[in-house]
Structure formats: C-alpha cells, structure tokens
C-alpha cells in the first residue's frame, strides 16, 4: 500500500540573500513497507521526523533522495498527484486549521466537491461518512460550536468521504483532552477493523499505539525500532534512551519485574496486568 525506498528529506535553511545557511536532514534513509489493511503506528518525540515522513505519503512533500510509492504510484509522478491524494487521506494536528466549511456537512463535502463527484453522490457520501464517525446529528452545526474531539471526527469524516484506501493521522490527538483523544482513536480503530482502511497513526502518546499491528519508532530521522507493540514495549530501557516513555501499566510491570516478581515483558493493558498478577498469586 505504502512503500518508501531509501527515503531522505532535507530542509534547507536560507538567509535573506538565498544562500544556503544550513541543511537539516529530517528524514534519513527510511525504508518502510505497509501492507493493505494494516494499522501502523509511528512513534517519536518532537523533531524525530515523523510528521515530515507523513507528509510524503500525501505528496505534500517530495523526497530529496529515494522514492515513495502509494499503491504502486510514485509520488513524484505529477500525473498521479490527485489519485494519490484521494487514496491516501490525511488528518492533521490542529482541528481548527483543517475545517474549511462553515457548516459540518459542507466541510465533509469539500473533498468530494474538489474531486468532481456529482451532487447527488456527494450528499450520499457525506451522510455515510458522518454516520461512520457518529457525527450525523451535528451535520447542520457550525464547527465553531464543537469540541476538539468532535472537530477531529468531522475532519476524519471529510477524509472518508473521499473514499481513501489509507488514512494518515498526523498527531491527531496532540491538541485534545483525554476524552477527545479516546474518541479519535476509537474512530481510527473502527475504520481499520470495519472498513478495512489502512491506518498510519503518528503520535507521541504511548497508550494510543497498543492496538497497532506494527510500530515504528523514529529518532533523528531514522527508524530505530520496528515490531509489534509488545516487542517494542518489552524494551523499556531502549525506549528511555530514545527519550520515549511506555504506557504506565507497562512501566509498572517492568519495575515490578526488576524488583523480582515473575512478570513477562511488554504488558500492554490493565486487564492483562491483572491477569498476570493473579497467576503469580496462585
């Protein structure tokens, strides 16, 4: 579905005369291969290059070196530009800055309008996508009156209405409260499981990646770790080196294990933790 081949991206800083002042390598030699229907999480602290990487999947940025393929199409090939943007939808961080319409349903219809979908079908798509994210009762509301989580769900609906095969979430929960975060993650998981849409979730909240099929950990533009959430979170000390934490339960289990309790590595959820503790008690 998505593939990067030795991807390198450099930000070039220039002074006022246009001379090159410095080059920052934001993405450095990244090789990824995402299969259709997968739920992928990309982790990394600020400045690790994860958002820069995400923008390559939507042809918003082009590689300095290497190549990016979306569903077999090279993003540098201009003739496929709009196909790529339709197939790989994107949800951004700030909910206010990505809603264009003044009414919820108009915003959801914005993508299909741009694609030249006939009027009747736009209405069908809008209704169906608002239903998918559970925002149908707000269709006539102004986005200014919604909560952060609701706005993000409207943005997701706006992407679904374009019938993408893949959705890239670029830190969709960074500006939300815990409730809003839950709403958005629940919507993303539902899309993956029910509609079988490939999901790339970029985040720095550890709790959000435990449902992913695979996790990539990025640091300084490199992919440092790859694996299932359990494999990744078993390596608490390695994550600490990369200035990343682990979910609280995982950390607790890790510390207890160090203190001598026979617990396994990479405990992800509270329920799992309780089960493991019960086993020890017996």
């Amino acid at each position: 579905m998505l593939r990067t081949d030795k991807l390198v991206f450099e930000y070039i800083r220039r002074d006022e005369e246009g001379n090159v002042e410095g080059i920052t390598r934001a993405v450095d030699n990244v090789n990824l291969d995402v299969k259709p229907g997968e739920f992928i999480a990309i982790l990394g602290h600020n400045g690790s290059g994860k958002s820069t990487l995400a923008k390559h999947f939507n042809a918003l940025l082009y590689p300095t070196e290497g190549e990016v393929f979306v569903d077999g199409m090279n993003t540098e090939d201009d003739s496929h530009l709009w196909d790529i943007r339709q197939e790989a939808g994107m949800v951004f961080q700030n909910p206010d800055n990505q809603i264009i319409g003044q009414v919820v349903e108009e915003d959801v219809g914005f993508g299909p309008e741009n694609m030249g979908v006939p009027t009747q079908e736009i209405w069908e798509r809008v209704e169906e996508s608002l239903k998918t994210v559970g925002m149908l009762q707000f269709r006539k509301s102004s986005p200014n009156h919604l909560s952060g989580g609701q706005k993000q769900r409207v943005s997701i609906a706006g992407v679904i209405a374009m019938h993408p095969k893949c959705i890239i979430f670029d830190e969709p929960t960074a500006m939300l409260d815990p409730n809003g975060r839950k709403e958005v993650i629940r919507a993303a998981r539902a899309l993956n499981q029910v509609e079988n849409i490939t999901i790339i979730l970029i985040t720095h909240y550890m709790e959000e990646v435990i449902y992913a099929d695979r996790v990539f950990v990025m640091d300084k533009g490199h992919v440092e770790m790859t694996g299932t959430p359990r494999e990744i979170f078993s390596q608490v000390d390695r994550l600490k080196e990369l200035r990343l934490g682990v979910p609280q339960v995982t950390l607790l289990a890790h510390e207890l294990k160090k203190a001598g309790l026979p617990l396994p590595d990479g405990v992800l959820t509270r329920e799992e933790f309780v089960e493991e503790l019960k086993k020890i008690k017996r």
Partner: protein, 267 residues
C-alpha cells in the same frame, strides 16, 4: 460569548424571502437601488415604499429589527438633509441671517432623506434574510461572466467564505492574546489615543504570526483534500432557480417598468 457572533445580521426564520435564491436577492437589491435614483416624483416613491413594505411583510423580519440599522446612519441622514436644505439655490421661503431655505431645497432634502432610508432598508433586508455563505455563493455565480476578463471569481468567493469561517476563531485568539498580555501587565485601556494605538502592537504581532501559521496549515489541509481551484469542481449545494425565483424576477421587472413608466407619464 465571542464564538456566538454572527457576521452581518442574519435573522433566522422561514419565509418566502429567506428561501429565495441569493442571486435573485442580489439582483433585486441592485434593481431597487437603481429604481430609487430613477424615480424622481412622489408617485415613484410611493410605489417604492409599497414594494418595500410588501417585501418586509413577506420576509417576516420584525420591522424594529430592520429600523435598528437606521440608528447608525442617523447622523449621515441629518447632515445630508441640512446641506440640501440650505445649499440648494431657488425661490427662497425663509431667510435667517446668511441661511436661506428654498422651496427646491426643501424638496431636495425630503427626497434625499427618503432615498437614503429606503436604500439602507432595502440592502439590510437582503443581509437580514441571506446567510453570508449563501451571499458569497450567489456572488460567485453572478460574477462568473467576469472570468472572461481573467477575474478570479471562484478564488475571491473562496477567500470570502474562508475569511467568514475564521473570523470567530481569530476573535477568540485575540481575546486569548489580550488576556495573556494583560496578565503580564499590558494596558490596553488607559492613556491617550496614540498611546492606546501603540499598546496594540504587542497584540497585533502575535495575532498576525498565528494567522499566517493557520493559513499555511489550512492551505496544506485543502491541498491534501484535492483542492485544485475552481475548475472541475462540483457543488454540494448548487444554486438552481425554482418557480418562486422566476416569479420573483418577474415581480422585479414589473416593479422597474412601473417606476420608469410613472416617471415618463408625469413629466
């Protein structure tokens, strides 16, 4: 609350006038304004008044709502009247010191006052019965022929609707920045006019920076959703003329004919 402000002065209710196509309302307002300047006799103004009264009745907007807008132009109205009253040459009626009121002046002042009042009433009736959104849509369609002269009509209307969407957001942001600056000892309220204007700088700079940042984000979000300008775009809510719109056009034409004919017959 700041986020509750609505732009313009849309009055939410359901009426024939509200449901008319925005293009009809724009054209009607324009025609009405023109008619006010074509009409130059008593009968003409009576017809205009009757027409206006009919539209107000049909729009179901309470008259006090409409005339509230009048307060703001009261001073302008007074000024035009005074000037017309004293400065029109003609047969004098009363003369006090250097000021002379003439017959023509009296007539002119009355006419200007009526014109102004009708003009404001007519155009505020349009904004009272049309949402800003509809208005930009209507403008886009009406101005479409200008594309032949390379006027970016779609882009202009897109800019207008984005501006409308971001006004409440930027208002909220202004409020936030203002509070943040006040918490650090900024003073926006006291001092001379110049001092107060100067104190706005630490408010405007962050506001502008954030507006640019938002614009950048929004442009990216629009591109990611396949926005490529007006060509090849379909409409979710296309403007289609219905029977009532055609009827309204007919009424407007009849009204214009009546005004012009009345002017001819009497002079």
């Amino acid at each position: 609350m700041l986020r509750d402000i609505t732009l313009g002065q849309y009055y939410r209710t359901e009426s024939v006038i509200h449901s008319l196509d925005p293009r009809v309302k724009l054209v009607a307002t324009f025609a009405f304004i023109v008619s006010l300047f074509v009409a130059n006799n008593f009968i003409g103004y009576v017809i205009a008044a009757l027409f206006l009264a009919m539209v107000i009745y049909l729009s179901k907007v309470p008259p006090k709502f409409i005339f509230r807008g009048m307060k703001t132009i009261f001073f302008l109205l007074l000024l035009t009247m005074v000037f017309n009253l004293f400065l029109t040459p003609g047969t004098p009626i009363v003369s006090v010191w250097k000021f002379t009121i003439t017959q023509e002046g009296l007539k002119m002042a009355a006419m200007m006052a009526v014109r102004l009042v009708f003009l404001i009433t007519g155009s505020s009736l349009m904004t009272l019965t049309t949402t800003p959104n509809h208005l930009t849509d209507g403008l886009e369609r009406l101005l479409r022929p200008l594309r032949l002269f390379k006027v970016p009509v779609h882009e202009i209307s897109m800019m207008m609707s984005i501006a409308l969407r971001f006004i409440p957001i930027l208002m909220e942001e202004t409020d936030k920045i203002m509070k943040a600056q006040m918490a650090r000892g900024a003073d926006f309220e006291s001092g001379s006019l110049i001092k107060r204007a100067k104190s706005l700088v630490p408010l405007l700079v962050p506001l502008f920076i954030s507006a640019f940042r938002r614009a950048n984000d929004l442009a990216m979000a629009m591109e990611a959703r396949c926005y490529k300008g007006g060509d090849g775009r379909t409409k979710m809510k296309p403007l289609i003329y219905e029977k009532r719109d055609r009827l309204a056009y007919l009424v407007i034409i009849l009204y214009l004919v009546l005004i012009v004919v009345m002017g001819r017959i009497l002079f």
